[in-house]
Symmetry: C2
Amino acid sequence: MEGAQAVREAQRHGRVREVFVTEAAATRHPDLLGPAPAWITERAAASLSDTVTPQGIFAVCDLLDVPLARALAGAPQLVAVCVGVADPGNAGTVVRVADAAGADAVVLAGDTVDPHNGKAVRASTGSLFHLPIARERDTAAALTTLVADAHGELDLHDPAVAPVLAGPVAWIFGGEAHGVPATVADGADHRVRVPIHGRAESLNLATAAAVCLYASVGARRIRSRPDE
Amino acid sequence: MEGAQAVREAQRHGRVREVFVTEAAATRHPDLLGPAPAWITERAAASLSDTVTPQGIFAVCDLLDVPLARALAGAPQLVAVCVGVADPGNAGTVVRVADAAGADAVVLAGDTVDPHNGKAVRASTGSLFHLPIARERDTAAALTTLVADAHGELDLHDPAVAPVLAGPVAWIFGGEAHGVPATVADGADHRVRVPIHGRAESLNLATAAAVCLYASVGARRIRSRPDE
Protein backbone atom coordinates (compact mmCIF):
# COMPACT_ATOMS: atom_id res chain seq x y z
CA MET A 1 0.00 0.00 0.00
CA GLU A 2 1.28 3.45 -0.86
CA GLY A 3 0.12 6.78 0.51
CA ALA A 4 -1.55 7.92 3.71
CA GLN A 5 -5.13 7.17 2.63
CA ALA A 6 -4.37 3.58 1.61
CA VAL A 7 -2.24 2.89 4.68
CA ARG A 8 -4.93 4.31 6.95
CA GLU A 9 -7.58 2.12 5.32
CA ALA A 10 -5.36 -0.96 5.63
CA GLN A 11 -4.74 -0.24 9.31
CA ARG A 12 -8.43 0.30 9.97
CA HIS A 13 -9.01 -3.22 8.62
CA GLY A 14 -6.09 -4.75 10.52
CA ARG A 15 -4.20 -5.81 7.40
CA VAL A 16 -0.86 -4.00 7.92
CA ARG A 17 2.27 -6.06 8.63
CA GLU A 18 4.92 -3.34 8.44
CA VAL A 19 5.06 0.40 7.79
CA PHE A 20 7.91 2.08 5.86
CA VAL A 21 8.07 5.84 6.28
CA THR A 22 10.32 8.84 5.66
CA GLU A 23 11.01 11.29 8.48
CA ALA A 24 9.02 13.99 6.71
CA ALA A 25 6.01 11.71 6.21
CA ALA A 26 6.18 10.53 9.81
CA THR A 27 5.80 14.16 10.93
CA ARG A 28 2.73 14.55 8.74
CA HIS A 29 1.11 11.24 9.73
CA PRO A 30 2.10 10.38 13.32
CA ASP A 31 -1.14 8.36 13.66
CA LEU A 32 -0.14 5.91 10.92
CA LEU A 33 3.25 4.72 12.17
CA GLY A 34 2.17 1.71 14.24
CA PRO A 35 4.37 0.21 16.96
CA ALA A 36 7.63 -0.17 15.00
CA PRO A 37 7.90 1.67 11.67
CA ALA A 38 10.91 1.10 9.40
CA TRP A 39 12.61 4.39 8.54
CA ILE A 40 13.52 5.03 4.92
CA THR A 41 15.22 7.84 2.98
CA GLU A 42 13.47 10.08 0.46
CA ARG A 43 15.45 8.28 -2.22
CA ALA A 44 14.20 4.88 -1.08
CA ALA A 45 10.66 6.28 -1.03
CA ALA A 46 11.02 7.48 -4.62
CA SER A 47 12.23 4.05 -5.62
CA LEU A 48 9.40 2.20 -3.81
CA SER A 49 6.76 4.53 -5.21
CA ASP A 50 4.93 4.24 -8.49
CA THR A 51 3.70 7.83 -8.35
CA VAL A 52 5.46 10.99 -9.48
CA THR A 53 5.28 12.69 -6.09
CA PRO A 54 5.58 9.94 -3.46
CA GLN A 55 3.95 10.65 -0.10
CA GLY A 56 6.75 8.83 1.73
CA ILE A 57 4.58 6.29 3.56
CA PHE A 58 4.11 2.63 2.59
CA ALA A 59 2.76 -0.50 4.22
CA VAL A 60 3.35 -4.17 3.55
CA CYS A 61 -0.05 -5.82 3.97
CA ASP A 62 -1.63 -9.24 3.91
CA LEU A 63 -2.92 -10.27 0.51
CA LEU A 64 -6.60 -9.44 0.34
CA ASP A 65 -8.09 -12.09 -1.90
CA VAL A 66 -10.04 -14.99 -0.46
CA PRO A 67 -11.09 -18.38 -1.89
CA LEU A 68 -14.09 -18.23 -4.18
CA ALA A 69 -16.19 -20.42 -1.88
CA ARG A 70 -15.65 -17.96 0.96
CA ALA A 71 -16.39 -14.94 -1.25
CA LEU A 72 -19.70 -16.49 -2.26
CA ALA A 73 -20.65 -17.92 1.13
CA GLY A 74 -24.16 -17.19 2.35
CA ALA A 75 -26.69 -16.20 -0.29
CA PRO A 76 -25.08 -13.52 -2.45
CA GLN A 77 -27.54 -11.32 -4.33
CA LEU A 78 -25.19 -9.27 -6.49
CA VAL A 79 -21.69 -10.22 -7.61
CA ALA A 80 -19.38 -8.45 -10.08
CA VAL A 81 -17.06 -10.62 -12.19
CA CYS A 82 -14.19 -9.23 -14.29
CA VAL A 83 -12.83 -11.49 -17.03
CA GLY A 84 -9.53 -10.45 -18.60
CA VAL A 85 -9.65 -6.84 -17.42
CA ALA A 86 -6.10 -5.60 -18.03
CA ASP A 87 -6.22 -2.01 -16.83
CA PRO A 88 -5.66 -1.75 -13.06
CA GLY A 89 -7.55 1.56 -12.89
CA ASN A 90 -10.59 -0.11 -14.43
CA ALA A 91 -10.38 -3.12 -12.12
CA GLY A 92 -10.07 -0.91 -9.04
CA THR A 93 -12.96 1.26 -10.19
CA VAL A 94 -15.16 -1.81 -10.70
CA VAL A 95 -14.40 -2.85 -7.11
CA ARG A 96 -15.35 0.65 -5.93
CA VAL A 97 -18.58 0.66 -7.93
CA ALA A 98 -19.43 -2.87 -6.77
CA ASP A 99 -18.96 -1.74 -3.19
CA ALA A 100 -21.14 1.33 -3.72
CA ALA A 101 -23.84 -0.80 -5.36
CA GLY A 102 -23.86 -3.08 -2.34
CA ALA A 103 -22.45 -6.10 -4.17
CA ASP A 104 -21.62 -9.13 -2.02
CA ALA A 105 -18.31 -9.95 -3.75
CA VAL A 106 -16.05 -9.28 -6.70
CA VAL A 107 -14.51 -12.13 -8.67
CA LEU A 108 -11.44 -11.40 -10.82
CA ALA A 109 -11.32 -14.15 -13.42
CA GLY A 110 -9.19 -15.15 -16.39
CA ASP A 111 -6.23 -12.87 -17.02
CA THR A 112 -7.57 -9.96 -14.99
CA VAL A 113 -4.96 -7.69 -13.44
CA ASP A 114 -3.78 -8.39 -9.87
CA PRO A 115 -5.99 -6.41 -7.47
CA HIS A 116 -2.89 -5.72 -5.36
CA ASN A 117 -1.43 -3.62 -8.20
CA GLY A 118 -0.80 -0.12 -6.83
CA LYS A 119 -3.01 1.61 -9.36
CA ALA A 120 -5.87 -0.85 -8.72
CA VAL A 121 -5.55 -0.23 -4.98
CA ARG A 122 -5.69 3.53 -5.48
CA ALA A 123 -8.64 3.36 -7.90
CA SER A 124 -10.62 1.28 -5.40
CA THR A 125 -10.22 4.06 -2.77
CA GLY A 126 -10.43 1.55 0.06
CA SER A 127 -13.20 -0.62 -1.36
CA LEU A 128 -10.78 -3.56 -1.77
CA PHE A 129 -11.09 -3.90 2.00
CA HIS A 130 -14.87 -3.64 2.07
CA LEU A 131 -16.05 -6.74 0.25
CA PRO A 132 -14.58 -10.17 -0.49
CA ILE A 133 -12.35 -10.32 -3.57
CA ALA A 134 -11.69 -13.74 -5.13
CA ARG A 135 -9.36 -14.58 -7.99
CA GLU A 136 -10.71 -17.58 -9.85
CA ARG A 137 -11.52 -18.76 -13.34
CA ASP A 138 -15.10 -19.80 -12.64
CA THR A 139 -18.06 -18.36 -10.79
CA ALA A 140 -20.53 -20.25 -8.72
CA ALA A 141 -23.58 -21.71 -10.35
CA ALA A 142 -26.19 -20.54 -7.85
CA LEU A 143 -26.40 -17.11 -9.45
CA THR A 144 -27.95 -16.09 -12.74
CA THR A 145 -25.02 -14.98 -14.89
CA LEU A 146 -25.41 -11.83 -16.96
CA VAL A 147 -22.73 -10.83 -19.46
CA ALA A 148 -22.46 -7.13 -20.29
CA ASP A 149 -22.28 -7.37 -24.08
CA ALA A 150 -22.80 -4.59 -26.64
CA HIS A 151 -24.68 -7.08 -28.83
CA GLY A 152 -26.60 -8.84 -26.06
CA GLU A 153 -30.11 -10.14 -26.71
CA LEU A 154 -31.56 -8.35 -23.68
CA ASP A 155 -31.83 -4.55 -23.42
CA LEU A 156 -30.82 -3.22 -19.99
CA HIS A 157 -33.71 -0.73 -20.06
CA ASP A 158 -36.43 -3.05 -21.29
CA PRO A 159 -38.95 -3.07 -18.41
CA ALA A 160 -39.48 -6.81 -19.01
CA VAL A 161 -35.81 -7.39 -18.17
CA ALA A 162 -36.00 -5.74 -14.74
CA PRO A 163 -36.95 -8.96 -12.87
CA VAL A 164 -33.86 -10.65 -14.32
CA LEU A 165 -31.62 -7.75 -13.26
CA ALA A 166 -33.10 -7.80 -9.76
CA GLY A 167 -31.18 -10.98 -9.10
CA PRO A 168 -29.61 -12.85 -7.53
CA VAL A 169 -27.13 -12.24 -10.33
CA ALA A 170 -23.46 -12.28 -11.17
CA TRP A 171 -22.60 -9.54 -13.69
CA ILE A 172 -19.67 -10.49 -15.92
CA PHE A 173 -17.54 -7.73 -17.47
CA GLY A 174 -14.94 -8.47 -20.14
CA GLY A 175 -11.57 -6.99 -20.98
CA GLU A 176 -11.10 -3.56 -22.56
CA ALA A 177 -10.06 -4.78 -26.00
CA HIS A 178 -12.16 -7.83 -26.79
CA GLY A 179 -14.94 -7.97 -24.22
CA VAL A 180 -16.01 -11.24 -22.62
CA PRO A 181 -14.59 -14.37 -24.30
CA ALA A 182 -17.16 -16.08 -26.52
CA THR A 183 -17.10 -19.26 -24.46
CA VAL A 184 -17.97 -17.29 -21.33
CA ALA A 185 -20.67 -15.27 -23.10
CA ASP A 186 -22.23 -18.37 -24.64
CA GLY A 187 -22.23 -20.16 -21.29
CA ALA A 188 -23.93 -17.32 -19.40
CA ASP A 189 -27.65 -17.25 -18.69
CA HIS A 190 -28.18 -13.92 -20.51
CA ARG A 191 -26.25 -11.34 -22.46
CA VAL A 192 -27.40 -7.80 -21.68
CA ARG A 193 -26.62 -4.71 -23.73
CA VAL A 194 -26.36 -1.19 -22.38
CA PRO A 195 -28.27 0.73 -25.05
CA ILE A 196 -26.13 3.25 -26.95
CA HIS A 197 -28.38 6.09 -28.04
CA GLY A 198 -25.86 8.51 -29.48
CA ARG A 199 -22.92 7.89 -31.75
CA ALA A 200 -20.47 6.62 -29.14
CA GLU A 201 -19.07 3.27 -30.20
CA SER A 202 -19.07 1.87 -26.70
CA LEU A 203 -18.73 2.73 -23.03
CA ASN A 204 -15.56 2.53 -21.00
CA LEU A 205 -15.48 -0.74 -19.06
CA ALA A 206 -15.77 0.85 -15.63
CA THR A 207 -18.65 3.15 -16.60
CA ALA A 208 -20.51 0.25 -18.25
CA ALA A 209 -20.04 -1.76 -15.04
CA ALA A 210 -21.43 1.16 -13.03
CA VAL A 211 -24.52 1.40 -15.24
CA CYS A 212 -25.15 -2.38 -15.08
CA LEU A 213 -24.60 -2.84 -11.34
CA TYR A 214 -26.78 0.16 -10.53
CA ALA A 215 -29.45 -1.13 -12.91
CA SER A 216 -29.60 -4.22 -10.70
CA VAL A 217 -29.79 -2.04 -7.61
CA GLY A 218 -32.63 -0.02 -9.13
CA ALA A 219 -34.49 -3.14 -10.29
CA ARG A 220 -34.36 -4.63 -6.81
CA ARG A 221 -35.75 -1.40 -5.44
CA ILE A 222 -38.72 -1.56 -7.79
CA ARG A 223 -39.27 -5.26 -7.02
CA SER A 224 -39.36 -4.60 -3.30
CA ARG A 225 -41.93 -1.79 -3.47
CA PRO A 226 -44.55 -2.37 -0.79
CA ASP A 227 -47.44 -1.85 -3.22
CA GLU A 228 -46.36 -4.75 -5.44
CA MET B 1 -5.19 15.53 -31.94
CA GLU B 2 -2.68 12.78 -31.35
CA GLY B 3 -2.79 9.21 -32.57
CA ALA B 4 -4.37 7.46 -35.53
CA GLN B 5 -7.80 6.95 -33.97
CA ALA B 6 -8.21 10.60 -32.99
CA VAL B 7 -6.90 11.91 -36.32
CA ARG B 8 -9.22 9.57 -38.22
CA GLU B 9 -12.20 10.74 -36.20
CA ALA B 10 -11.27 14.40 -36.78
CA GLN B 11 -10.93 13.81 -40.52
CA ARG B 12 -14.25 12.00 -40.66
CA HIS B 13 -15.84 15.13 -39.20
CA GLY B 14 -13.92 17.52 -41.46
CA ARG B 15 -12.12 19.27 -38.61
CA VAL B 16 -8.47 18.73 -39.62
CA ARG B 17 -6.38 21.72 -40.73
CA GLU B 18 -2.95 20.11 -40.95
CA VAL B 19 -1.42 16.68 -40.39
CA PHE B 20 2.06 16.15 -38.89
CA VAL B 21 3.48 12.69 -39.39
CA THR B 22 6.70 10.67 -39.15
CA GLU B 23 7.81 8.52 -42.07
CA ALA B 24 7.14 5.35 -40.10
CA ALA B 25 3.63 6.47 -39.13
CA ALA B 26 2.88 7.49 -42.72
CA THR B 27 3.65 3.94 -43.82
CA ARG B 28 1.23 2.58 -41.23
CA HIS B 29 -1.55 5.10 -41.93
CA PRO B 30 -1.43 6.14 -45.61
CA ASP B 31 -5.18 6.86 -45.46
CA LEU B 32 -4.75 9.59 -42.84
CA LEU B 33 -2.19 11.86 -44.53
CA GLY B 34 -4.53 14.22 -46.38
CA PRO B 35 -3.37 16.27 -49.36
CA ALA B 36 -0.22 17.85 -47.87
CA PRO B 37 1.11 16.36 -44.63
CA ALA B 38 4.01 18.00 -42.80
CA TRP B 39 6.86 15.54 -42.23
CA ILE B 40 8.42 15.37 -38.78
CA THR B 41 11.23 13.40 -37.16
CA GLU B 42 10.73 10.77 -34.43
CA ARG B 43 12.32 13.24 -32.04
CA ALA B 44 9.83 15.95 -32.94
CA ALA B 45 7.01 13.40 -32.51
CA ALA B 46 8.26 12.52 -29.02
CA SER B 47 8.33 16.20 -28.16
CA LEU B 48 4.81 16.87 -29.52
CA SER B 49 3.37 13.82 -27.80
CA ASP B 50 2.03 13.55 -24.31
CA THR B 51 2.10 9.76 -24.34
CA VAL B 52 5.02 7.47 -23.51
CA THR B 53 4.99 5.69 -26.88
CA PRO B 54 3.93 8.27 -29.47
CA GLN B 55 2.20 6.94 -32.58
CA GLY B 56 3.91 9.56 -34.75
CA ILE B 57 0.78 11.14 -36.21
CA PHE B 58 -0.82 14.40 -35.12
CA ALA B 59 -3.39 16.83 -36.50
CA VAL B 60 -4.05 20.50 -35.87
CA CYS B 61 -7.83 20.85 -35.77
CA ASP B 62 -10.48 23.48 -35.43
CA LEU B 63 -11.59 24.14 -31.87
CA LEU B 64 -14.68 22.10 -31.20
CA ASP B 65 -16.66 24.11 -28.70
CA VAL B 66 -19.69 26.12 -29.77
CA PRO B 67 -21.64 28.95 -28.13
CA LEU B 68 -24.06 27.81 -25.43
CA ALA B 69 -27.09 29.05 -27.37
CA ARG B 70 -26.14 26.86 -30.29
CA ALA B 71 -25.45 23.84 -28.10
CA LEU B 72 -28.92 24.17 -26.57
CA ALA B 73 -30.78 25.08 -29.76
CA GLY B 74 -33.94 23.11 -30.48
CA ALA B 75 -35.58 21.38 -27.55
CA PRO B 76 -32.82 19.49 -25.71
CA GLN B 77 -34.05 16.62 -23.55
CA LEU B 78 -30.85 15.58 -21.80
CA VAL B 79 -27.78 17.73 -21.16
CA ALA B 80 -24.68 16.95 -19.08
CA VAL B 81 -23.00 19.85 -17.26
CA CYS B 82 -19.56 19.63 -15.63
CA VAL B 83 -18.71 22.28 -13.05
CA GLY B 84 -15.06 22.50 -11.99
CA VAL B 85 -14.07 19.05 -13.23
CA ALA B 86 -10.26 19.16 -13.16
CA ASP B 87 -9.27 15.72 -14.43
CA PRO B 88 -9.21 15.59 -18.25
CA GLY B 89 -9.82 11.82 -18.23
CA ASN B 90 -13.00 12.34 -16.23
CA ALA B 91 -14.20 15.19 -18.48
CA GLY B 92 -13.57 13.14 -21.63
CA THR B 93 -15.31 10.12 -20.12
CA VAL B 94 -18.35 12.24 -19.23
CA VAL B 95 -18.52 13.39 -22.87
CA ARG B 96 -18.32 9.74 -23.99
CA VAL B 97 -21.04 8.65 -21.55
CA ALA B 98 -23.24 11.62 -22.49
CA ASP B 99 -22.90 10.64 -26.14
CA ALA B 100 -23.76 7.01 -25.38
CA ALA B 101 -26.78 8.10 -23.32
CA GLY B 102 -28.03 10.14 -26.26
CA ALA B 103 -27.53 13.52 -24.57
CA ASP B 104 -28.11 16.59 -26.72
CA ALA B 105 -25.11 18.57 -25.47
CA VAL B 106 -22.36 18.82 -22.88
CA VAL B 107 -21.66 22.07 -21.08
CA LEU B 108 -18.27 22.53 -19.40
CA ALA B 109 -18.76 25.22 -16.79
CA GLY B 110 -16.71 26.96 -14.14
CA ASP B 111 -13.09 25.89 -13.97
CA THR B 112 -13.60 22.64 -15.86
CA VAL B 113 -10.59 21.40 -17.84
CA ASP B 114 -10.24 22.37 -21.51
CA PRO B 115 -11.95 19.68 -23.62
CA HIS B 116 -9.13 20.06 -26.17
CA ASN B 117 -6.66 18.68 -23.62
CA GLY B 118 -5.04 15.60 -25.16
CA LYS B 119 -6.10 13.27 -22.37
CA ALA B 120 -9.70 14.55 -22.54
CA VAL B 121 -9.73 14.00 -26.30
CA ARG B 122 -8.47 10.44 -25.88
CA ALA B 123 -10.90 9.62 -23.06
CA SER B 124 -13.81 10.81 -25.19
CA THR B 125 -12.84 8.28 -27.94
CA GLY B 126 -14.31 10.49 -30.65
CA SER B 127 -17.44 11.56 -28.79
CA LEU B 128 -16.17 15.17 -28.66
CA PHE B 129 -17.12 15.28 -32.34
CA HIS B 130 -20.54 13.71 -31.87
CA LEU B 131 -22.46 16.23 -29.82
CA PRO B 132 -22.19 19.98 -29.22
CA ILE B 133 -19.74 21.02 -26.48
CA ALA B 134 -20.11 24.47 -24.94
CA ARG B 135 -17.87 26.17 -22.42
CA GLU B 136 -19.92 28.54 -20.32
CA ARG B 137 -20.63 29.46 -16.74
CA ASP B 138 -24.38 29.15 -16.90
CA THR B 139 -26.85 26.69 -18.31
CA ALA B 140 -30.13 27.52 -19.97
CA ALA B 141 -33.24 27.88 -17.88
CA ALA B 142 -35.59 25.79 -20.00
CA LEU B 143 -34.32 22.55 -18.48
CA THR B 144 -34.92 21.14 -15.03
CA THR B 145 -31.52 21.20 -13.36
CA LEU B 146 -30.49 18.16 -11.33
CA VAL B 147 -27.31 18.23 -9.27
CA ALA B 148 -25.63 14.89 -8.58
CA ASP B 149 -25.01 15.28 -4.85
CA ALA B 150 -24.13 12.57 -2.33
CA HIS B 151 -26.44 14.29 0.16
CA GLY B 152 -29.24 15.18 -2.25
CA GLU B 153 -32.85 15.16 -1.06
CA LEU B 154 -33.99 12.90 -3.91
CA ASP B 155 -32.92 9.24 -4.24
CA LEU B 156 -32.03 8.27 -7.80
CA HIS B 157 -33.80 4.93 -7.39
CA ASP B 158 -36.96 6.17 -5.72
CA PRO B 159 -39.70 5.23 -8.21
CA ALA B 160 -41.42 8.52 -7.45
CA VAL B 161 -38.36 10.36 -8.78
CA ALA B 162 -38.43 8.67 -12.21
CA PRO B 163 -40.72 11.29 -13.83
CA VAL B 164 -38.25 14.00 -12.78
CA LEU B 165 -35.30 12.08 -14.22
CA ALA B 166 -37.17 11.49 -17.48
CA GLY B 167 -36.61 15.14 -18.30
CA PRO B 168 -36.05 17.38 -20.07
CA VAL B 169 -33.15 17.77 -17.64
CA ALA B 170 -29.65 19.13 -17.33
CA TRP B 171 -27.55 16.93 -15.03
CA ILE B 172 -24.85 18.91 -13.20
CA PHE B 173 -21.68 17.12 -12.05
CA GLY B 174 -19.16 18.79 -9.75
CA GLY B 175 -15.40 18.62 -9.45
CA GLU B 176 -13.56 15.61 -8.04
CA ALA B 177 -12.53 17.21 -4.76
CA HIS B 178 -15.42 19.33 -3.60
CA GLY B 179 -18.42 18.44 -5.75
CA VAL B 180 -20.77 21.08 -7.09
CA PRO B 181 -20.31 24.56 -5.54
CA ALA B 182 -22.99 25.30 -2.92
CA THR B 183 -24.36 28.24 -4.90
CA VAL B 184 -24.90 26.02 -7.93
CA ALA B 185 -26.43 23.22 -5.85
CA ASP B 186 -28.75 25.61 -4.03
CA GLY B 187 -29.85 27.17 -7.30
CA ALA B 188 -30.70 23.88 -8.98
CA ASP B 189 -34.21 22.49 -9.15
CA HIS B 190 -33.28 19.24 -7.38
CA ARG B 191 -30.30 17.55 -5.79
CA VAL B 192 -30.23 13.81 -6.47
CA ARG B 193 -28.13 11.25 -4.64
CA VAL B 194 -26.85 8.02 -6.12
CA PRO B 195 -27.57 5.61 -3.26
CA ILE B 196 -24.44 4.06 -1.74
CA HIS B 197 -25.35 0.62 -0.42
CA GLY B 198 -21.95 -0.71 0.59
CA ARG B 199 -19.13 0.97 2.44
CA ALA B 200 -17.68 2.95 -0.46
CA GLU B 201 -17.42 6.60 0.46
CA SER B 202 -18.41 7.80 -2.96
CA LEU B 203 -18.32 7.04 -6.66
CA ASN B 204 -15.74 8.29 -9.11
CA LEU B 205 -17.09 11.35 -10.95
CA ALA B 206 -17.30 9.67 -14.35
CA THR B 207 -19.00 6.52 -13.03
CA ALA B 208 -21.51 8.63 -11.07
CA ALA B 209 -22.24 10.59 -14.26
CA ALA B 210 -22.78 7.31 -16.12
CA VAL B 211 -25.24 6.07 -13.50
CA CYS B 212 -27.18 9.37 -13.47
CA LEU B 213 -27.37 9.90 -17.24
CA TYR B 214 -28.42 6.30 -17.81
CA ALA B 215 -31.02 6.62 -15.05
CA SER B 216 -32.56 9.40 -17.14
CA VAL B 217 -32.41 7.21 -20.23
CA GLY B 218 -34.11 4.36 -18.37
CA ALA B 219 -36.76 6.66 -16.88
CA ARG B 220 -37.64 8.01 -20.31
CA ARG B 221 -38.01 4.45 -21.55
CA ILE B 222 -40.48 3.63 -18.80
CA ARG B 223 -42.39 6.86 -19.39
CA SER B 224 -42.77 6.11 -23.09
CA ARG B 225 -44.13 2.60 -22.63
CA PRO B 226 -47.15 2.13 -24.87
CA ASP B 227 -49.28 0.65 -22.06
CA GLU B 228 -49.06 3.82 -19.97
